[in-house]
Every structure is written in C-alpha cells, then in structure tokens.
C-alpha cells in the first residue's frame, strides 16, 4: 500500500516537473506533444497512425479545400527544386498518397526532358526508381489506387514501401534524393528521421522537406491563426467528418520548430548548405540540405 502510494506520488511529481523540462528541451517535447496535448512518446506514434487511418480516404480532397488548391503549386515547387534526372533513385517518405512521387516521375518522363537525353542514356529511364515510403498502409493503398487512375499503375519505376521514417530499411548511400512533404511534423523523433535521411543519401544527394511552418508577417499572422483554428476544424468536420484530426493538424503546426530551428536541426544531422525558402509568407517552408 505504501509503495503504491509512493509510486503514485512519484508519477504525479514527474508530471509537474515535465512542463519545466519542456521549456529547456524543445526537441524532447516534440516527441511527447500531440498538437497542444501532452502524450507519452510510445503513444504518439499510435495516435498519429489513427489520425491518418481515418483521414486517408479524403486526404487529398481536404488538402485541396484547406489550401485552396495551393498545395499543388507547393509540391510543384518542391519537385522543381529537386531537379530530378533520369536514372535517379529517389525516396519520398511519408508520401502515402503519392503526390510528390507522381510529379517526380512525370517530370523525368516528360517530353521536354526526354528530348535532352543522350543516345547513350537509353537505359537510364528504366533505372529510375522512385520509392514511396509510408508508415500507414491505408495511405499507401490510396496512393496505389491514384497511381492506377493516373496511368502509372504498371510503371516499374514506382515502388510502394511500408516503413518508418525513423528506421528506414534502405541501405546506406543508396539514394540520390529524399523528400518528405507534410510528413516530418508527424514523426515522433525528428532527429532520428533526419539522421536516417542522411544515412540513406549518397554523397551529393539532396534532402528536401516541405512543411507547414511559422508565419511572422504581422497582419497575415492573425488572419492565418483565425483561419487555422476556426475554419479548418470546421471544414474537417463537414468534409471528412473528423474534427479531432484536423484540430491535431493545426495544433501540430504550431508546435513544430521554427524555420531557423529546424534548419539547425537539419545541419546537426549532417547536412551542409542548409537553406530554407518561405512560400506564402511562411505558411509553408521548403528546407533543403546536401549531403557531402
């Protein structure tokens, strides 16, 4: 009885101390934050998994509605920054529904780029491999279906892999490019994901991350906050029938590190030439780094 009481007291004290620790170790807090709620590390992965399982079917529609179609432009910008080339081995992590992967593949196979190919490079188009990795099988299934609709269903260059960003099953120095679009926010340990990214990239390989980020522009910030907290969960309820998931979404954006902080995390993982580009005044940021 006494030991039980002592254990309870200890856990209560731990919970009180935790907020203090949060202010000193921001990175540790990402692993235990689920939006504005505090959760245990082990639970976060499960909770995020539940969110995506439930939104998978209407994920793309919701993206269109929430961003007013802008997310397509952001992804185009990401792919043009990547500058894909034939024969590329690319890994798109958390790319469940395949948006970025399709764009990369279509860019490599586009008539304009094909016209520039050397006669000796005939095999390169077949050597191109785009891996789409996602931890959630529901998202991957939606992606496979969309690939069929787009006519890329039988394309041997597109490979769907179920995997965890923090523990990738790919070999060291095997990828030319690594992208993660709107996914790194949902990872429990960002540093692990970044370290894995550095591991699988070849020398000269690029890391690109497209993510919702922090707005500092004065008036626009207020408008954006209002839109995020009032409008988006309401749309989530209307369109996807799931207010909670979209509440998590907007909260997790606020909890995510700022552009500068995230850039320093990328540099710490081993990347060089780390830069970021703000789109729409900071609503979205594309961070990039090169592995040398």
């Amino acid at each position: 009885m006494a030991t039980a009481l002592r254990l309870i007291a200890r856990s209560l004290r731990k919970n009180k101390i935790q907020p203090l620790y949060n202010s000193c170790s921001f990175l540790h807090s990402h692993a235990t934050s689920f939006g504005f709620k505090e959760v245990r590390e082990e639970e976060k992965s499960q909770m995020v998994g539940n969110v995506f399982t439930s939104v998978a079917s209407s994920y793309d529609l919701m993206n269109d509605v929430m961003s007013g179609g802008l997310h397509r432009l952001w992804k185009e910008r990401l792919v043009s920054k990547l500058n894909p080339f034939p024969g590329m081995k690319h890994l798109d992590v958390a790319g469940g529904t395949g948006d970025v992967a399709f764009r990369i593949l279509e860019s490599i196979n586009s008539v304009k780029n094909r016209a520039l190919l050397d006669v000796h490079d005939d095999n390169l188009l077949e050597e191109t491999k785009i891996y789409v990795c996602d931890i959630n099988p529901n998202m991957l299934n939606v992606g496979k279906k969309r690939a069929q609709e787009r006519g890329l269903g039988d394309n041997s260059s597109l490979i769907w892999v179920e995997g965890d960003a923090e523990a990738l099953k790919f070999e060291d120095d095997s990828m030319d490019g690594y992208t993660i679009a709107f996914g790194i926010r949902n990872v429990t340990h960002i540093e692990k994901a970044l370290a894995e990214a550095c591991r699988v990239l070849k020398r000269g390989g690029r890391f690109l991350c497209l993510e919702l980020s922090h707005v500092e522009v004065p008036v626009f910030k207020e408008l954006y906050d209002y839109y995020s907290f009032s409008v988006i969960p309401a749309i989530g309820e209307l369109v996807a029938g799931d207010r909670e998931s979209y509440q998590y979404l907007v909260e997790s954006i606020r909890r995510f590190p700022s552009q500068e902080k995230f850039a320093s995390m990328i540099a710490e993982a081993g990347f060089q030439k780390v830069e970021y580009e703000n789109l729409v005044g900071g609503v979205v940021a594309i961070h990039s780094g090169v592995k040398f």
Partner: protein, 305 residues
C-alpha cells in the same frame, strides 16, 4: 575588386566564395573534422566585405540560411575540440567547384546545360542531385567559367612582365586577346553561354563579372591619362570586348586572326576618339572663355534691374 584583394591576402582560400552564413553549417557537421586551415580562413574571410556575385537571389519568396554570428563563434569552439575525430569533411563550396570544373570538360559535347553538369557530377563521384543545389544551374557553370578565366588572366598579368614595353593601346589589345583566347576551345557552344548570361535572372551577375574583367584589364594596362571619366573608359572597353567576342563567334579564319585585326582597329579607334574628345573639350573651353561671362552677366543685369 574586393574578391581580388581577398585572394591576394588569403592564398589558402583559393576559389572560395564566402557565403559565410552557409559555410558554418559545414562547420557544425556531425562527426566532422574541418581542415583547421580552411576553418580559420573561413572565420576570418567572413569578416572581409566581399561582393559575392553568385549570391544574388531575384525570386520573390524569401530564402535564407540558418546561422547567426553568435552560433558561428560557438561552432568555432566545438570544431576545435572535435579536430581529432574521423575523416576530414570537405568544404561544400570546394566540392561544388570540383563538380563545376569537371563539368567544363563535357561542355564542348553537351553545351552549357544540366546534362553537362550531371556528367561532371558523375565524374567526381557525386550524385547528380547536387546539380539541383546550384542556385541557377547552367548559370552557375557559366559564371564559374568566367571567374576561372578572370583568375587565369590575373595570374598571367602578375607573372608576365613584358607589358611595360608596349604602349597602352597595345597592352589593352594584348590582354583582351589573351582573355578571348581562353574561350576559344568552347567557341562552338559560346553563343549558348552568352544567351544564358543574358537571361534576366543572370544579368546582374554577368554584368558584375564583365565589369570586374574590364576593370582588371584597365588596371593592368595602367593608363596614366586621367582625362576621361573612369566609367567612360570601362564602358568603352566593355563595348570593345563584347563586340570582339561576338565577332569571334562567326570567325572562321585560322587562329581567329580576323578577330584580332578587328580588335586592334577598334582599340585604335577608341584611343583616337579619346584624343578627339580631349581636343573637343579644349576647344569648348576656349570658346567658353571667349564668350566670356556673357550669360552670367546677362542674368545679373536681369536680376538687378
């Protein structure tokens, strides 16, 4: 000009363009041993006011890098401590320079394009993805080549001493000839390079590079006469250089002899023009003195009455 001064002061820097904020990310690299000499030069070069023509970003969206000065000074200490670990991590700007250098070999076959840069990256053992990290891709290659030629020209100026024996117009002619000859191997693809340089995004950098080139040539030709404006001299030479460059594109004579003849004539014209302008100025002054203060006198009488 600042870059030339920096190069003369810090021979170890070599071809380095100090984007000093970016470079610190290399300093902070995990398990990295930065070559101590490079590290120190990077720390000190960062404080030299340097015009970095490649750092121009005309895009509307804001982009920046992660490092502030305080973090750099902290990184300094960290790297000193980690000096004894693992393999030396090459500075990324050197790697980029190596890729560009290797790409030049493919330019004759593939032109000033992505394809040449991809081939260059493969030669050096880097993934071709690195091509995407160059700010304006083909323009980076062309600008690298222009910088390289300028550096070679400076080296030639420094080592050869026989310029003093020539009159200024011959000195200028010889220097322009030396510089244009560096482009001779790429002459079949040079129109493409010119078109890349003429693109709106690339104009500021290419203009700056040409300005530096022209300035360097005048400085070496060491024209003592300070009559005409500094700007006029450089503009005139810039015009001569560009026209000679264009003439060279369609010149089929052996060793570009026609181009050199054209160049000599233009330079002679320019120097003659300079004398003509000088004489015209003296004439104008004399006439003005002759008319006397007639206009000021007239104005005075108007205001006094």
């Amino acid at each position: 000009m600042y870059r030339l001064a920096a190069k003369r002061l810090l021979p170890a820097v070599g071809r380095w363009n100090p984007r000093f904020r970016c470079s610190s990310s290399g300093v902070r690299a995990l398990a990295g041993v930065i070559n101590p000499l490079r590290f120190y030069t990077s720390a000190s070069s960062g404080t030299i006011p340097d015009q970095n023509p490649d750092n121009f970003d005309a895009s509307a969206s804001s982009s920046s890098t992660a490092w502030s000065q305080e973090e750099r000074s902290r990184a300094d200490d960290e790297t000193q401590r980690s000096r004894n670990t693992t393999r030396p991590r090459a500075h990324w700007q050197d790697e980029q320079a190596r890729v560009l250098q290797a790409s030049l070999r493919h330019v004759i076959r593939l032109g000033w394009t992505d394809a040449a840069m991809i081939a260059g990256a493969r030669d050096v053992g880097m993934s071709p993805s690195i091509v995407g990290s160059f700010p304006r891709k083909e323009a980076a290659l062309v600008e690298f080549f222009m910088d390289d030629c300028l550096q070679r020209l400076i080296d030639i100026i420094d080592t050869k001493d026989d310029f003093k024996n020539l009159i200024p117009s011959h000195r200028v002619s010889k220097l322009v000839k030396i510089r244009l000859e560096m482009q001779a191997p790429y002459i079949s693809k040079w129109p493409q390079a010119l078109s890349v340089q003429a693109q709106p995004l690339n104009i500021p950098t290419s203009f700056k590079q040409r300005a530096m080139l022209v300035d360097e040539i005048w400085h070496a030709a060491d024209d003592e006469a300070a009559d005409i404006d500094w700007y006029v001299k450089r503009t005139v030479l810039g015009g001569i250089y560009s026209t000679a460059e264009l003439y060279m594109l369609t010149d089929t004579s052996p060793d570009f002899q026609d181009t050199w003849a054209f160049l000599d004539e233009r330079i002679r014209d320019a120097f003659d023009l300079k004398k003509t302008v000088q004489e015209a100025k003296y004439l104008a002054e004399a006439v003005g003195a002759g008319i006397g203060g007639s206009l000021p006198g007239f104005m005075k009488s108007v205001f006094n009455s």
